[in-house]
Amino acid sequence: MPRAMINVPAKAKRGEVIPIKTLISHVMESGFRHSSTGQVFPRDIITGFVATYNGEEVFRATLFPAIAANPFFTFHTVAVESGTIEFEWTGDNGFSGIEQAKILVE
């Protein structure tokens, strides 16, 4: 499992707009770097990131090599109900990472 750090408020009021922060370990090899002997380091990046809230998609990003190593995203979502927010990253060479966070909505 790739290392990731997630920040989701544990509790929120119904209807509140909450910030979510995500950080995942990934070198994001751009595919544009060369060794000193002229060989290209092949591209190896995360290409997709999706957040779902009790199964419903609330955020989606398509990443290109211009996203910095150890991709970081902050975004917002409405605290509609208690449940699970799931985060999934996919990328080159079959990269896959899944994290979950629980939220209590009052």
Binding site: V17, S30, E57, F64, A66, A68, T74, F75, H76
Partner: protein
């Protein structure tokens, strides 16, 4: 006659933008691209995008796209949002190869397109490692 340098790809950026907007008109405004004007290291540049939108079921931001002019590739990120976002405010970290212009475009639910262009100055660290 001015000849563009090999690294600069404003034409490629225009082409990348064109494939997203598909001939529709883009107006400046509503979207704000926040990047520090002077960047310590182009490898990791904090970047925030906010769009002035109520994010209701009938009036919301569908997508945000970011492009660069002088990176080896013009696309940076494409983000899909919806009314569930509550606020069209996203932050990430991007790579900027050189001092250049960065463009962010917002697609709204009514089909309108809005843009913001920012010039960024990249300084490099003084003591670099040999590759």
């Amino acid at each position: 006659m001015l000849v563009p340098s090999a690294a600069a790809t404003p034409a490629t950026m225009q082409a990348a933008i064109a494939s997203v907007i598909r001939g529709a008109k883009v107006n400046p405004g509503k979207i704000k691209l926040d990047i520090p004007p002077l960047v310590e290291n182009g490898n990791t540049v904090p970047c925030s995008i906010t769009v002035d939108s109520p994010m209701t079921e009938v009036d919301y931001v569908k997508a945000i796209h970011v492009f660069t002019e002088k990176n080896p590739q013009p696309n940076v990120v494409s983000i899909q949002l919806g009314p569930r976002a509550g606020r069209a405010s996203v932050s990430t970290r991007i790579r900027l190869a050189d001092t250049q212009t960065v463009v962010a475009i917002a697609e709204l639910s009514d089909g309108s397109l809005w843009s913001h262009r920012v010039d960024v100055l990249i300084t490099l660290g003084a003591c670099l490692e040999d590759s």
